[in-house]
Structures are given as structure tokens and as C-alpha cells.
Symmetry: C2
Subunit: 598 residues, 2 copies
């Protein structure tokens, strides 16, 4: 069995001391009451729920999995009860609009709670997570009637949501979809087709399931420009008088569920739409735009899954490394009272633990900072500030998604490695982290697709404005701090890597304009480079805070923070050196060989 | 379902054209008849068996797993029949001594066949693999009576073998074992204790199972110097007159089997020894030495598991990348007759495939070359040549084990990534490669332990003789070839990396002498560096052959070889740059923080 203790103190450090939550968020319209005290209370409450209710169901949920019979999906034992508690606590509406019954908390607070859920039970988190994506898309794109009907139900957790995009023959390339929608005079549509890989597509947790379905209208232009988004409920709501209680069954059914490597407690469904009734969300043929509201939120959510798994993997690896006694330290007995030293004395074990921790803690700052930018983009009084925050989120989304999920998988594997043979055994629970983490590198756009998004769309966008807006404050920070003696060990390596990143960015921008394959060939390595520097920046910011507070800190919290910051600069950031060389090799080593020669 | 086609042509290229099999192996005593023609026939026969019999049982074996009931273990459906065919074909005795009924083939040929078995069905391969380890230990250390009784049965595949080392509280640190052996006047012993993680510890494939058990005698000195090795059969053989048919049940029973992340068709047993009768193998208290005969062979075998999994992962990823159509090439339509281009047109997909292939093909040369050195070490007429070959094997064993298994896992994950969402689905079979590969980085000494073996034992051994003997011919090769214009693109980057490796080796040797933690902190990165340079050397050797043969080759085989060689030099070898920086950072970033701060 695994353990999990929500890192509430660390979260408070990040929000309050590093990111200036009070100054940046409670100043936003509608968030005046979301004080640090309230946020702390929420985090503690969420911690209790995650530690006591969700985490104990993680291993059993994996063992039992979901069961399918005649179109009905049964979630693992305890999931329904846990979901009811989740709903009762108001967690389904934490960051939703009070107009629809939500608690109106800032998105960044939602991020912290999401992280805990993913650490405790990622598969469980899929159900409210998908609802959250559906909520976002409906809120942003649907007309008021649909919003007024569906958003309160989703916010209350009575109904859940899905994203129905993928079809058997198309995932990344949605231009190929075959699902058809036919318009009716009453403004509704009938939708027919088959969708696959639909998370939370069918289950027993809620009274109704609201599918957001991509389909093509008869007059659709070919390709992605001919896709529309539809809202398709499992049960058609009766009437306002019945408080929209679920009425007749709609023509949408689960045909089967997948047997998967991980997240086995999350149902992954084949969804058959057979003249299902639905309503248009957003404009005709503009479904991709609406879909990207879900997708971008979902991509950040997946990045947080990576973060959450990395955190819990670290916690368990540390526990095991302190408990497991085996051999002696290379430089003599360190724990003479025991038959052998705990394996945490070994440099190679510490290397693995520090690698988990250094990237996790840096990633957390970047993730929450992104959440804060979402709030600023939503609520800031100044239009320029909103636009800048938008740019930040657009740029960093693929980095958060890809880098954090790669890290989640890596951290999970490091936990297994620390456990040794015991890590390979199911009952110890860490191998499940590996299996659960594996999908995060794939869904909502594979990490390769994220990298292409970064170099192909975000980098050239608006003449490089997104990058400039990201790089400029980093440069300012570094220039302002590198002259301080105590900050040099953090700023200097980061400045060198940042300089190389800027150089490579220019190189790719130039080469990529003439030949998109040049950017494509470097994309994955470039994203990694970008991520390592970005997380490095977060570490430099943490180091600055830690240096200030360390003298008055009897607990050692800030001194340890500086130790981990040093590890990041000396043992993680240097990865950029190899990436730089490999990127500069260009596309030729990759593209020369004929397809048939593979 | 996955596919597998044994790469027989590639194996012949490696053996004959790169490694000079004819010259180096058929010249050895007893291998005169193991001609290239015979070897080719053997490889083709093995390919048929692996492709047609073992591979189809891989997915079903994973699904069904092993079943335990009342001490009895049932292997998955089809395994017994496949094992019988395996035995009938003589594969259990392929590289065993003809004196015991073996076919007396060179070990390097055994390596190639092992690779195929691991590609086709790694879990199946565990059963004969463990027997092979037991054979080696008995052949080398047991007295003639034991050899004459047990080796023919193991060679014939009638009986199988195990290695019983690990106990619940000790794996890496075998000095802690508690299993006890008591001597009797007839020269036998009774052994009592509990062993865990015993692969093939109980199953239904053979009539008897021969356990090689580490235990402590009453007069044992403490720690690893007090361990002895015992042969403990499941059934006590009757008598020579009965052709040693299995007689009374011995006091050794399987208490349970583990539920594991992967290799589910391989039984992993708790073995309870309760006054089990056994016989000493080798000298009293010298069990570790005998155990290392098994262990070293097993470590190379595990490295080959990594190689085999990487190969089959590559094959399936390529197949999928050619079949799956999705989107268009970044530089325009490449397959106009299709609705979309196959994903192999995308540079990032090709990057993944080439990474799999480049390390796999280079690793194969190094693996087979190691096998050849085993043969030389066994059979060469010249003592110096034998000693040199011994040094080679001792040095390279941890590298083969750790680097190849890391690659097997990486390659399996790249296959999943190429498959996208479909890779996460069980029935497609590639996620199984990931789960199966994961244990190879752990068992027979975790890869961290391999790294410590390299820097802590092999590097300082005999004043650095092992390293000098490895580095010297590499240096000679590079000096001899770097002046050739066509070889420069392969030799120059390799020379630079090799130069850095030598420098780092010196650094670690110096620092490590004063402070073993300095070597320990760098160990994993050093092993990786060493492996990348070693595999790079193999690529330079392949490039040399390919450059010679390319002009007369209408098939493109050699031209493609050069393409992959270039990829290795430009996109894989540069990883050494970061490793070098990280190694030079020393132990401080890793060892400073207090244990309690984790």
C-alpha cells in the first residue's frame, strides 16, 4: 500500500511566498474573498478528503477496474460513495461560477486541489476532471439556454461530462472524423457515429452524462474547418418544471470499455451515437475552436496529473528509502544501531529521490503560476494584463502538458527503481503509478503533438510575441539577481542555459520558416529545453525567497530548499547541453532515410 | 496483436561481417564444426520456433498469467506444449557441453537465439533462462557426481533450475540472509528458510526443479563471507539404476506467487525450505563466488532481454507508423493516394524509431561481441587471450546489463508513444513490452548496483587493467580510421566523447580512491557515458564495413546502415555532453542534505 500526505505547507509556500497570491489574485474582481486564510482552509479540507477517502481506493480501484455489461459500466467498489462525498463537499464546483452554483474560487486554487486528487487517485479524478472540461466549453461557447440548463447540474456534480473527439481511424487528425450531424427545424440535431477512448463516457456515478461531441454537418467544408461541436446528453432533460430531471434515454450508448495498461478505474468507452439528439455549441463548423477550450484546459489538467503522480511517487520512494535497510554506506556505517543502513544513505538512491523532488517542486511553481495567469486572464481589470496572461497560458500549456507528464512517468519509474524488486510487485502500489502515468504522455495530444504546438504555432505566433513576453521578465529577473553574491550559483547556470535557449529559438524560427520539418525534427528536444529553463527560473525564484527567509528559520525548510535548488542547477539543468547539440544537428539525420528502409 | 520477424540477416551481418565470427570462433577448440552455414541454419530454425510458437503465446500468457493453488503452479495455456517443442528442438542444450548431451554451440550463437526468444516471449524465456544459469553454476563449481547426475537432465530440458538468493529482508545485501544449512555425515545438508522472488521456482513444465540456494552453515562467518551454495532438488532423484527418475518429494515448496507488473507468465515464487535435503556446490562459505557464476551469466542474459524487447518494440512501432494514416507531412502531401499520410513521415515519429533502432543495432554488436569473448575466454589456446577475454567480459557485463535494459524499457515506451492512445490498450500488445521490460532494470542487481560494480569494482580492479584493455583497441581503431575521409563523420564525434570518457575515468578513479561516495554519486551517469561510447564504437565498426560494401550493394542495406550510424553520432552520442557536466558536479549536490530532510 502506498502513502500520501498532501504537501499543504509546500503549496502555501508556492502560492504565498513565491507567487504572491494575495497581491496577484485577491486583487482580482470576484476573488476578493478568496483570502489566503480561506485558501488554506480549503487546501486542508481537500487534503483530508484526498488522504482519507480517495487514496485508499487507488489500489483497489486498479485491481477491480471498471466492469461493462449490456451498455452499463460499474465503477470499482467505493467509487460511488467517494464521489458522493466529493459532491457533498462542493468540490465539483470549486472553481465554477457562483451564477451556476459554483464556489467561485480562483483557478489556481483549483489547480492545487487537482494536484492532490491526482496524487491520491488519478483514475477517480478523471470523472470530475472531464466534467470540468465540459463545463469550460459550455460556459465559453454555448448559448444561455444550454448554459442555464446544464451548468448548474454539472457544477453540482449531479451530472458529469465528456469530450467525444477521437474515432477509430482518427485522433490527432480530427479533420478525418466521420460522425455526422443532421439539423432539425427546432434547432436540435441528430448525431450518428462512433467515438472511441471516451473517458468517463459511461459510469454509475451520476444521474446523467453530458457528451460534447465533434461531428460534421451536411454542408461542412472538408477537414478541420468543417467540424462542429454538439452537446448530447445521455438522458434528455425533461422540463424546467421538473427541474430538468433526466427524461427519455437518448440514442447514445456505450458499446464496450477498453482493457488498459493503467487508470483502470477510469472507464474508457466506445460511444455509439445512433440518431442521438443534440444541440450545437458555438457556431456551425467552428467546433475546433470550442473544442480547444476544453482541450487547453484539459492539457493543463493532464500536466497536473503528471505533477500529482510525481509528488506521490516521491513520497513513497522516500518512505521506502528510509525504511529499507540493506548494506552499509560507502564511507562507513551511518546507522550503527541497525543491522544495515537504510538505502537513503547511498548517493545513487539520493540522486533518484532528488531528481524526483527537484523537478516536481519546480514544476509545481510553474503550474500554479500558470493557474494564476488563467485567473488574471479571466478577471484582471486591465486589458493588456489580460492579453499578456493569455499569451503566457497559450505558450506554456504544451510545456506544462508534455514536460510534467514526462516527469510524472520518470518519477514513477524512479520510485519503482528505489523499491527494487518490491517495486515490480502490484501490492506495493508504485508500479501502478507507472502504468497510470503512461497515458498522460499520450492523451489530449501526444507529447510530440505538444512539441509541434510549441514550435509550430506558439513560437511563430504574432511574430514571436508570446516568447518575448515570456523571456523578457526572465531576463529581467536574472539581470536583477545575478549580481547578488548568494544568487549567483542559481542565476549563472540558468543564464547560460537561457542564453542558449534564445539562440536556439532564433535558429529554429529561421530554419522553420523555410522548412517546417526543421522545426518538427527539433520540436521534442526544444520543448524539453524550454521546460528545463522555465522550471529553472522557478527554482531561482524559490532560491531568492529561501535566501531571504533562511536566517530566521529554525526548521531548515529554506536551507533544504536551497539544497534542492542547487541539485536542480547542477544535476538537472545540464541536460540542456546535450539537447542543444542534438537540436543543432538539424533534420538531416532524421529525414534522410527512406520510409521503406525502416 | 504484435508482430515479430527475427532479424536473421542483421544477426548474420553482425556475426560475420562486423565481428569476424569465422575467424574468431570456428578457430576455437571444439567449435570447428560451428561454421557460419551451420549457425545460419540454427538461426533460421530458432526464428521459426520463436515467430510461430513462442510469439503467439506472449499476449495470451500475459492475460492469463500463472495460477497458484496449494503449492502447485500452472503456467498459461500453451506454455507446456511450447516448452515441449522447445525441448524437442534441442534448444535447452544449445550451448551446453556435449559431454552432458548439449549441442556444444558457441555461447555467441546462444546469445543470438536468446535474443529471439526474448523478443518473441520474454516470460517464456525465463524458464530455460534460469535453467541455463543453474547449469553454468553446477558445471563450474559442483563436484563430478552432481554434474553427472544433474547436468544431462537440465541440458535435456527434463529438469529446470532456479537461483534462490533473495529473502524478504535482503536482496542486494546478501550478507543478511537467514536461511540455514545443517551438515550431515553422509555429505548432504538440510536447509531451512524462506526465499522470495524466485523465478521459475515452481511450474508445470518439467518433471523436476533444481534449486540453487544460498544459505549459511552453523560455522559461517558473518556477512557475505559466510554464505554457501546448495543444490536442492524439488524431488530427490531415485538412483542411477532408475536413470535418476524423480523420487520422494523434498522439503521445498512454493508458498505463493507474486502478482506483478509484467512477465506475468513467468512464475515468481515464494519458496519455503523446510529441512530440505541439499548438497554443497563449491566450497563451504564460498557461495558468493559460485553464485556470481550464475549472476554474471544472468546479468548478460538480462541485458539480452533488454535487447530483444527493444528489437520487437521497434518492429511493431515501424509497422504501426507505416500503417497509421493521420494528417499530412509538414512539408506537403507525401502519399497523395491516401486520405492522409502515414505517420512515419513526421520527423518526431522518425526520431523515435531511429532512436530505438540506433541503440538496438549498436547494442547487438556489443552483446554478441561479449558472447564471443565468453567463447574465447573458455576455449582459446592462448592463456593471455583467455585472460584478456575474461577482463573484457568482467568489465562490460554491468554495462550490457544496465544500458541495454534501460534501452529496452525506453524502446518499449517509444513504441507505445508511436502507437498513441492505441499503445495504452492491452490488446495491441506494446504496453506489455513496457511492463515486461521494467523488471530487467531491477533484477540480477538493479541498474544502480551495476553502476557501482563498474565504478567500484571493475574500474579499480588490477590497477585499471580492465579499462586499459578495453580502451586501447578502441583508441587504435579510432586512430587508424579517423584519417579516412569517409570515416571522419563517425570517428570524430566518437573520439571527442571517448577523450572525455578517459578524462572522467581518471577523475573518478582519483576522487573515488579518497572518497567512495564520489564514485558512487557519479556511477549511474558514468555507466551510461561508458555505454554510449562503447556502442558508438560498435557503430563506427559497422560504418567501416558498410562503407566498404556499399558500392556493390543494390539493396541499400549498407547505405541505410550509414544513415543510422549518422543518427547515432548526431542524435544519441551527444547525450554524453550533459553526462559529463553532471558527473563533474561531484557528490556535493547529492550528499549534502540530511536524510531527515527528504
Amino acid at each position: 500500500m502506498t502513502v500520501y500526505k498532501a504537501p499543504v505547507d509546500e503549496m502555501r509556500f508556492v502560492l504565498n511566498e513565491v507567487l504572491g497570491y494575495e497581491e496577484n489574485v485577491t486583487s482580482l474582481k470576484g476573488y476578493e474573498d478568496a483570502t489566503t486564510d480561506l485558501v488554506h482552509a480549503i487546501l486542508q479540507e481537500a487534503a483530508r478528503l484526498c488522504e482519507n477517502e480517495l487514496q485508499p481506493l487507488n489500489l483497489t480501484g486498479d485491481e477491480e477496474g471498471c466492469h461493462y455489461e449490456n451498455g452499463v459500466v460499474r465503477t470499482p467498489g467505493g467509487f460511488k460513495e467517494a464521489y458522493d462525498m466529493f459532491v457533498e463537499g462542493g468540490w465539483t464546483g470549486l472553481a465554477n461560477d457562483p451564477r451556476y452554483g459554483g464556489q467561485g474560487m480562483p483557478k489556481v486554487v483549483g489547480f492545487a486541489v487537482e494536484e492532490m486528487i491526482c496524487s491520491a487517485n488519478m483514475a477517480f479524478g478523471m470523472y470530475p476532471g472531464l466534467s470540468h472540461g465540459a463545463y469550460n466549453a459550455i460556459e465559453k461557447w454555448a448559448d444561455d439556454d444550454l448554459k442555464d440548463l446544464y451548468l448548474p447540474k454539472i457544477t453540482a456534480g449531479e451530472w458529469s461530462g465528456t469530450m467525444c473527439l477521437t474515432e477509430p481511424h482518427c485522433g490527432t487528425d480530427l479533420g478525418l472524423i466521420r460522425t455526422k450531424a443532421h439539423p432539425h427545424e427546432d434547432g436540435s440535431y441528430t448525431i450518428t457515429g462512433t467515438k472511441i477512448f471516451i473517458s468517463a463516457g459511461e459510469h454509475d456515478l451520476t444521474d446523467n452524462i453530458i457528451h460534447l461531441v465533434l461531428a460534421k454537418l451536411p454542408d461542412a467544408p472538408p477537414g478541420v474547418k468543417g467540424i462542429s461541436l454538439f452537446l448530447v446528453p445521455k438522458f434528455l432533460p425533461k422540463s424546467a418544471g421538473d427541474d430538468w430531471a433526466p427524461g427519455p434515454r437518448n440514442g447514445v450508448r456505450c458499446g464496450s470499455i477498453e482493457k488498459k495498461m493503467g487508470i483502470k478505474a477510469s472507464s474508457t468507452c466506445v460511444i455509439n451515437l445512433d440518431n442521438a439528439k443534440g444541440w450545437l455549441v458555438g457556431e456551425k463548423h467552428k467546433g475546433m475552436r470550442a473544442m480547444f477550450s476544453m482541450m487547453n484546459a484539459a492539457r493543463l489538467g493532464v500536466g497536473i496529473q503528471g505533477l500529482g503522480l510525481a509528488e506521490v511517487a516521491y513520497q513513497n520512494a522516500v518512505d521506502y528509502a528510509k525504511e529499507r535497510v540493506q548494506g552499509r554506506s560507502l564511507i562507513g556505517v551511518k546507522y550503527p544501531a541497525q543491522a544495515a543502513d537504510p538505502i537513503i544513505v547511498h548517493p545513487d538512491v539520493r540522486r533518484m529521490l532528488l531528481r524526483q523532488r527537484a523537478i516536481t517542486e519546480g514544476a509545481r511553481v510553474l503550474a500554479y503560476w500558470t493557474g494564476m495567469h488563467l485567473d488574471i486572464s479571466d478577471r484582471h481589470g486591465d486589458e493588456t494584463a489580460r492579453a499578456e496572461a493569455d499569451d503566457f497560458v497559450a505558450l506554456i500549456t504544451p510545456v506544462v502538458k508534455a514536460m510534467f507528464t514526462d516527469h510524472g512517468f520518470d518519477a514513477a519509474n524512479l520510485a519503482v527503481q528505489v523499491y527494487g524488486g518490491h517495486g515490480f510487485i502490484h501490492e506495493h502500489g508504485v508500479e501502478q503509478f507507472v502504468r497510470d502515468a503512461r497515458i498522460t504522455q499520450i492523451y489530449e495530444g501526444t507529447n510530440g503533438v505538444q512539441a509541434l504546438d510549441l514550435v509550430g504555432r506558439k513560437m511563430p505566433k504574432a511574430g514571436g510575441r508570446l516568447l518575448r513576453r515570456f523571456f523578457h521578465p526572465m531576463q529581467e529577473f536574472l539581470f536583477a539577481n545575478v549580481t547578488e553574491k548568494n544568487m549567483q550559483e542559481y542565476c549563472k547556470p540558468l543564464m547560460a542555459a537561457f542564453g542558449q535557449l534564445q539562440q536556439i529559438t532564433l535558429l529554429l524560427a529561421q530554419k522553420g520558416t523555410n522548412d517546417p520539418e526543421e522545426a518538427g525534427a527539433a520540436a521534442t528536444e526544444y520543448l524539453r529545453f524550454f521546460g528545463l529553463v522555465s522550471v529553472g527560473w522557478m527554482w531561482a525564484r524559490m532560491a531568492k525567497v529561501a535566501l531571504e527567509k533562511q536566517p530566521d528559520d529554525p526548521t531548515g525548510f529554506y536551507a533544504d530548499k536551497l539544497s534542492v535548488a542547487r541539485f536542480y542547477m547542477k544535476k538537472v539543468l545540464p541536460e540542456t547541453a546535450s539537447l542543444g547539440i542534438s537540436i543543432k544537428a538539424g533534420k538531416k539525420p532524421i529525414t534522410t532515410m527512406a520510409d521503406a528502409a525502416f
